[in-house]
């Protein structure tokens, strides 16, 4: 069972009307693996995360989490569309950090971090606060716990968002272009936090990123998406060092030239 993938996309497709965003995606992510997803905009890479977080419905295929179907459930040996209770149980293993932070603006950093543990996990308030304080400390924001999001910089808001997601003790963390909305000088502090939780927590991580340097240094595997398919994937040294596919080469050249 240790070989069982943490996440498995089994022939998953996503269409918006006539537009096919993802076309029969097959992707296994192993426990503890750090996978980066890169590719041009419109290649479907963000959709991968959004489907796994159940923010988007899939049109075909099945997504598995720890050997359990996420989008479906087994009934009489057959897979039928999952009901809400099933989705919520499986989805509890997944946490997500967004490009635009999406902190709750009417709550302090601390309140943001304890809302879900208290209301979803049924944690006692004091316990939730102790854990949240620990997590806010880990992301370097102990001093800011009583601040509202509007009083924090983008980088600080994103670090609160990471602490908030971790407070739910997910096994899988999804990072959706988490530094794209930040001023350049604030990118480093957020990447530093991601690096740290990658080291200290036994988390499976899947991230969509435009930070090629970070993807190369941090991930175990990089997937290059193009037109709704994985065009090329492999260890970062290989994919960045010696891309086999023409599309990958073009994309990397364009990105590296730009920045």
């Amino acid at each position: 069972m240790t070989d069982q993938p943490m996440v498995r996309f089994d022939n998953v497709s996503k269409r918006y009307g006539p537009l096919t965003v993802l076309d029969g995606l097959n992707l296994d992510i192993m426990r503890g693996e750090k996978v980066s997803v890169i590719g041009p905009s419109g290649s479907g890479k963000t959709t991968v995360l959004r489907m796994l977080m159940t923010l988007e419905k899939i049109n075909d295929g099945v997504i598995w989490v720890e050997g359990e179907p996420l989008t479906h459930m087994e009934r009489n040996g057959k897979l039928v569309p999952a009901d809400l209770a099933h989705v919520r149980r499986v989805r509890g293993k997944i946490g997500m950090v967004f490009q635009s932070f999406n902190l709750f603006p009417h709550m302090t950093a601390m309140q943001n971090c304890i809302e879900a543990p208290v209301t979803v996990l049924g944690m006692k308030r004091a316990e939730a606060e102790a854990r949240a304080a620990e997590l806010l400390g880990m992301v370097g924001l102990s001093q800011k716990k009583d601040h509202y999001p509007s009083q924090l910089s983008g980088g600080q808001q994103q670090r609160v968002a990471i602490a908030r997601a971790l407070a739910m003790r997910p096994k899988i963390m999804l990072f959706d272009e988490v530094t794209s909305a930040l001023d350049p000088e604030l990118v480093g502090e957020v990447l530093q936090v991601i690096r740290q939780i990658g080291r200290e927590h036994d988390l499976t991580m899947l991230m969509v990123t435009h930070q090629m340097g970070f993807a190369r240094e941090f991930s175990d595997r990089v997937c290059f998406f193009y037109q709704g398919k994985i065009c090329e994937q492999g260890p970062p040294a290989e994919l960045f060092g010696a891309p086999k596919n023409e599309r990958t080469r073009q994309f990397l050249n364009a990105v590296l030239e730009a920045g």
Binding site: M53, L55, G95, P105, H106, E115, R164, A165, M168
Partner: protein, 219 residues
């Protein structure tokens, strides 16, 4: 002399008692409107299957005169075995009528919540109930308080319609005084002044609440 101060003073206590009924009808009616309106707006989003039914219902209520709805509850419902006294029927009709308007106000408030707030709630696995209670409503309602306040004042000014089913509120009382004494100037003027003063006070209160709420959000 057209205006008789002595007569005005004489009828004041009677009108004051009636004013209490008017205020009661206003407050009860508005509580029904504000709560039922919120329920309608939430259910409409939380249970998409009901959206069509609710919008038809809201349209129906908004597109027929309040007076007809009051008559309906008071005179037609008893035919179906639901007998309500005049005050209850009147307050219910006013409350439901304004609930339809309020539900649209709340809906506008909900529409203004960024999608990311809903998505973050899903990512944190919050239940639909918790999402509305802790995330969406606290952000959606404060900005629409002024609009709700306008409906409070509008509702208040429509309570004289209750005189049509003989609820002893201000207008009905003034009419009775008038028909008994053949003097309408003083009672009707006093009622008008009362509505003017109360509306101005309410408007000031709403502005105050609005300021307090804004301060809470924009800190």
């Amino acid at each position: 002399m057209i205006w008789d101060w002595a007569f005005a003073l004489e009828i004041l206590p009677t009108l004051a008692r009636a004013a209490v009924v008017t205020v009661q009808a206003t407050l009860l009616g508005f509580v029904i409107a504000a709560v039922l309106g919120l329920v309608l707006a939430v259910v409409r989003i939380a249970v998409p299957a009901t959206a069509w039914t609710i919008s038809v219902l809201v349209e129906l209520i908004r597109s027929t005169p309040l007076l007809i709805q009051i008559f309906f509850l008071y005179f037609v419902f008893p035919k179906f075995g639901i007998v309500l006294d005049a005050f209850t029927a009147g307050v219910l009709a006013i409350g439901i009528h304004y609930a339809a308007y309020c539900s649209e106000v709340y809906r506008a408030g909900f529409d203004n919540i960024p999608r990311g707030q809903w998505e973050a709630s899903i990512a944190l696995n919050l239940s639909a109930w918790t999402t509305f209670r802790d995330i969406i409503i606290p952000q959606a309602v404060p900005p629409v308080v002024p609009a709700l306040g306008n409906y409070l004042v509008a509702l208040f000014k429509e309570t004289p319609l209750l005189s049509a089913i003989a609820v002893l509120e201000l207008m009905q009382t003034a009419k009775i005084i008038g028909s008994e004494t053949f003097r309408y100037t003083e009672p009707i003027t006093l009622v008008g002044v009362f509505f003017l003063v109360m509306s101005l006070i309410s408007a000031a209160l709403i502005r105050l609440i609005e300021r307090l709420l804004n301060r809470r959000i924009l800190r």
